[in-house]
Every structure is written in C-alpha cells, then in structure tokens.
C-alpha cells in the first residue's frame, strides 16, 4: 500500500517541470535560424532578468521575440487543453471525452468569432476589446458542454455512446457554423478557417492576452485541483461519490465552469487544437495512475510538453511553410482515439 503523498507529488512535478524546460530550450533552438545553445542560454537569462537590451544579435531577438512567445503560448494552451480533457473525462465519466471530440472547442471557436464580429461593430477601448474574444469563447464552450451533456443523457443517465455521438454531431454542426460565419465576414481567408478549425499557434498574441491566459489558467486549474480527491470518487458514479461524502453538485459546477474557462481561453488564442485533451491524460494515467491529485498537474505538464513538441514539428517538418499544429496533434491523436474506442468496446 503506497498512497500518494504530497512529497512524492511535488517530486514528480519537479521532474516533469525539468523535462518541460528541456523541451522549451530544444524548441527554441529548432527553426530556420540556427542559434548556439550557449547564446540561447545567455539570451534566456537576459530575458529572465529583464535586460532585453543586452541580447547579443538579431538572431537572438528572433528567438526571443518570435519563437519564445509562440512556445509560451503553446505551453499554456497545451496545459489548458489537457487539464480540461482530464476534467471532462471525470465529469462525464467517459474516458474518450475531450474538448475537441465533444465539440466544445468548436463551440468556443464560434463564441470567439461571434465576439470578434460584435467587437468590430461596436467601438470598445482596446483593453476591453482584447477581453471580449476570450469571454465569447468561454460562453461558447460553456453552452456547448451543457448542450452535449443533455444530448448525451438517456433515461436520466449519461450514456457513453450517445454522449460521443452527440459531441461529434455538435462538432460537425459547429464547424459548418464557423465556415458560414467566416465566409460572411469581410477580409476572411482560408487561413482563418484553418486557424479556427484545426488550431494554429503562429498568430502573435498581444501581451495583455498572454497575461490573461496565464492568470486564467492558474485560477481555473486551482479551482479544479481543489476537487481532485472528489473527482477520484466521481469516477465510480455520482451516487457512489455522494455516499462517500462528496458534495456532488458543488464539484460538478466548479469543474464545469473551470474546464469551460480553460477551453475558452485556449481556443480564443489558438483555435481548436484537437486530441490534446484526450491523448495527454491517457498517457499520464499510464505513467502515474488515475489519482487526480497527481493526474491533474501531470496532465498540465504533459499537455504543455506535447503541444510545444507538436508545434516545433509543425514549424520545421514542412519548412519554410508552417503546418497548423492541430494537423500534427490529429495525426497522432485520431489513431489513438480509434484504438481506445476499440479497446473499450472489446
């Protein structure tokens, strides 16, 4: 009998953080412009202590101003999607639940686009305008998950197959809505559609949005983490959890709102990147087991690592053309989804 202790959890997280750091450094090095590891380390240090003027060369500026923000964006987006996936799997009691598969990401994308349209019609100050898209994405995600939840119910219980079908239909319907909205928008192009449908990290985001993303992630993750022990029991069913002392309605609303925030934030800055929320929790469960006190932080690190690697591949495999990062995650994620589905049916 070796239950999880706080010390062991912190140690494992430290190891994952170290791996994440190494991945970030490697991703910084990858690209058309070659940089030395020494130069990279020196520039990173300068950025950390705020001495951006001391950065040696133009190449260094490329790395710090172009690659680093994109990697940080991938870090937060990956962590958000993976934690949202882990949460949805526990909340819906379905190991195949994922923001993308269930159409929640598409819902967030529709919310973002609608917010962009509203924003362009009304005149807001730039600070307020920057917040409208993520807020629209959150509302879109929250409405979609509520809709999928009700579509997936049969005789008062969530039915796994019905839920997935409901999610897939919702996703395809919302994709059509996205195409419709984009084509009716002036100045839109195919690139925009790819962004919202497949996910893309190449669009630079304003600093204020990056801060919002970071703060939003910390708050939403913290909220979900307070229910980590309850989620372990919720896996055995709501009634069972209630009999073991879990305040089921409270846990449900906290996780539902926080996971919608995470999905909304991620989608509003990167579009609908698929399968991260499905793939990462499964891999982490294989390594660390299904205790959510460990699984949630492990998924956050795993999601960050996964998306940074996927995006580094997307930048370099077909260079000088960028692939959308969602194409890379889908190539890995879709076969895994089929595998998990078949194993579950077997």
């Amino acid at each position: 009998m070796r239950p999880l202790t706080l010390e062991r959890m912190i140690l494992r997280c430290a190891i994952l953080a170290a791996i994440l750091f190494v991945v970030v450094v490697i991703a910084l090095k990858m690209g058309a412009v070659q940089v030395s590891l020494y130069g990279l380390a020196r520039d990173l240090l300068n950025v950390l202590v705020g001495r951006t003027k001391a950065i040696s060369s133009d190449y260094g500026m490329i790395v710090m101003d172009i690659r680093l923000p994109r990697i940080l964006l991938g870090l937060v987006v990956g962590a958000s999607l993976a934690v949202a996936g882990t949460s949805f799997q526990a909340l819906l009691r379905n190991p195949l639940a994922d923001p993308y598969v269930l159409g929640i990401s598409s819902g967030a994308a529709v919310g973002s686009i609608l917010a962009l349209i509203i924003e362009s019609r009304l005149s807001f100050s730039p600070e307020v305008a920057g917040l409208i898209t993520p807020f629209g994405a959150f509302i879109g995600a929250a409405i979609t998950i509520a809709a999928v939840y009700f579509l997936g119910r049969r005789e008062g219980q969530i039915d796994s197959g019905t839920l997935l079908l409901g999610g897939i239909i919702t996703a395809s319907f919302l994709s059509a809505v996205i195409m419709f909205l984009l084509s009716s928008l002036a100045g839109s192009n195919l690139r925009g559609a790819t962004y919202w449908l497949m996910g893309d990290l190449s669009t630079p985001q304003p600093k204020s949005l990056m801060y919002l993303l970071g703060v939003g992630f910390v708050i939403a993750f913290g909220a979900i983490y307070t229910t980590a022990a309850d989620l372990n029991l919720l896996l055995a069913g709501e009634k069972e959890a209630m009999h073991l002392g879990v305040d089921v309605p409270r846990v449900r609303i906290v996780v539902y709102l926080a996971a919608s925030v995470l999905t909304g934030l991620a989608v509003s800055v990167s579009g609908a990147i698929g399968y991260v929320g499905l793939l990462v929790p499964h891999v982490m469960r294989l390594i660390f087991g299904s205790d959510h006190r460990m699984l949630l932080p492990a998924s956050a690190f795993g999601g960050a690592i996964g998306v940074i690697i996927a995006d580094a591949l997307a930048r370099t495999v077909t260079a000088p053309t960028d692939l959308p990062v969602g194409a890379v995650t889908a190539i890995v994620g879709a076969p895994l989804f089929i595998y998990l589905l078949r194993r579950r049916l077997a």
């Binding site: 009998m1 999880l4 209630m242 073991l244 879990v246 006190r293």
Partner: protein, 288 residues
C-alpha cells in the same frame, strides 16, 4: 489516537430480545413513506406506504420481499439518497436528512450491488476511498488512514488482495473489498443492497458470517436487502417483510416466517420449519 476500526462498547453483545430503551436505539425509521412518479402531475408509479422500525447497535436487519416491493427504495431512504415523502429517519437521535454529505458518510456506509470503475484501481486504493469523508482539502492520506484501511481489509480477510487490481479479482473477493471500504468509513450504520447477488453459496455464507461477526465486534447496525430467505432467517435479528410497497410484518425471523404469509408474498408453495437453534428454515416445494 485510537486506530481500531471501532472500539467495542464496554457492555458486550446486547441480546436482541432485551427490552428496548430509547437511548439504546441507533436507527429509528418513523412512519417513513415515499412516492415515485416520472411526472409530478400524474399518479405515482410506485408508493412505499408509511412504515416504522428500530434497530440497536450490533443488530442485523434484513429487508425481504419479492421484486419491486420497495426494498431498495427503503434502503435508499435510509441512506439519505432519497428524501422521504413523510416521516423521518433518525440515526443516534439525529435526522439523517439534515446531515451534510460528509457527516453522513462518516456515519452511514452503503455497499451497492455494483461499484463500476471507469479506470482500474488497486484494492488498497479502493479501500482508502472510505477515508475520504475524514480528509481535509486535498485529502492526502495520513498514517492513521492507512492503518484503518489495513485493519478494514484484515477484518474481511482480504489483506492478501491489497495489491491486486479490482478488475482482476473474483466477485466474492471484490465484494469483500467493497465491504472493507465501507468499514474504513467507520460507520454507525452499514447498509448493503443485495450483497449476495452475484456470489456462489459458499461466498454468500462467508459474507454473512463476516457481517454477523462485524456487527457484534464493531457494534454496527447492519441493514441488508436480500432475496435469500434462509440466509436472512439464519443471520438477521429482525426482518422487515415488504410486498408491493407495503410493510407486512416486522420482527424476529421466527415470528415473521409464517408459512401462509410467505406463500402469499412470494406466490410459491413453501414449508417453514424451525431448526435446533430456533432459526426458521424455508424449503421451496414443487408444484406437483
């Protein structure tokens, strides 16, 4: 700190025939009724008529009756999963409906028919879940929690299963682990919904012998829903006999097990005889 599953009370096993005094009653079901309807404007599909019974620490109460008689509904009412339409249920003098989920889980443990798992877990992880109502915040288990979980497994002779996966053990072994989790909750009241359903006869007897011993040692009040007339007759101190949502009789098995009554309830020809221990034994007679 006391890390025993339960410290037995100073006075040893109270005889079930002993005069009931109010202070001695642990579970008191008072005029409890329930009605179920899918649509509130329509007549209820099922009603449980008002019924009452009481149970003391260390007593086993069996709820008996044919299918759809309201056995599981009554158990859900006692567990607090359902709110009674009328009447109240008291546990040590407190109305169970007024307890928070956490407090209720510290006092009432329920062993359900099936405990499905979404992801496999090891037996010890499952048993430790029983300590959840005692934890704070992130609920990292304390050394006491681990000792209590180990004791719980030892009490149901399942220590050797500790490291096995829950989906890789037999039905009888799983049932013992589920029971161990309930014991780890250190409840006053132990509720079991058809615990013998998927067990072979040996495992059934084994479970009830365990229950009898645990009720006596730990002073649990045990309420068990079952179809097994003979097991209930052998092990229960009290029987609550239900038919179509109506409580027909409450009392010791020897007084409830009347041939005419059982034949009418179960719609089958039976014979009832008393064994040397004074326990009734029911035999199903063939129709021809």
């Amino acid at each position: 700190m006391n890390t025993q599953i339960h410290s037995p009370l100073a006075h040893a096993a109270a005889d079930s025939d002993q005069q009931r005094s109010n202070s001695d009653v642990r579970l008191s079901v008072e005029q409890v009724s329930y009605a179920y309807s899918s649509n509130p404007s329509q007549a209820p599909l099922f009603t449980l008529e008002a019924l009452s019974f009481q149970a003391k620490p260390g007593e086993i109460v069996a709820i008996l009756g044919p299918n759809a008689c309201g056995k599981s509904t009554l158990l859900k009412l006692i567990s607090g999963a359902l709110e009674p339409l009328s009447g109240r249920i008291f546990l040590n003098g407190f109305a169970t409906s007024a307890l928070s989920p956490k407090t209720r889980a510290q006092r009432v443990a329920l062993v359900q028919q099936e405990s499905p798992l979404l992801f496999p877990s090891r037996a010890w992880e499952f048993v430790l879940q029983g300590r959840h109502p005692y934890g704070r915040a992130l609920r990292f288990e304390t050394a006491d929690d681990i000792i209590i979980a180990k004791n719980a497994m030892a009490q149901v002779n399942a220590s050797h299963l500790s490291d096995r996966w829950m989906d890789k053990i037999s039905g009888g072994e799983k049932q013992r682990i589920v029971l161990a989790r309930a014991l780890a909750q250190q409840p006053l009241l132990l509720l079991l919904d058809e615990p013998t359903l998927h067990l072979d006869i040996g495992a059934q007897v084994d479970l009830l012998v365990n229950l009898r011993r645990l009720a006596a040692e730990n002073r649990y009040t045990v309420v068990v829903v079952t179809h097994e007339l003979n097991l209930a007759g052998e092990f229960a101190d009290q029987v609550v006999l239900l038919q179509k949502g109506k409580c027909l009789r409450v009392g010791p098995p020897a007084t409830v097990y009347q041939r005419d009554l059982l034949e009418q309830v179960f719609q089958a020809p039976l014979s009832v005889e008393l064994t040397a221990s004074g326990r009734p034994r029911v035999t199903l007679l063939s129709n021809d």
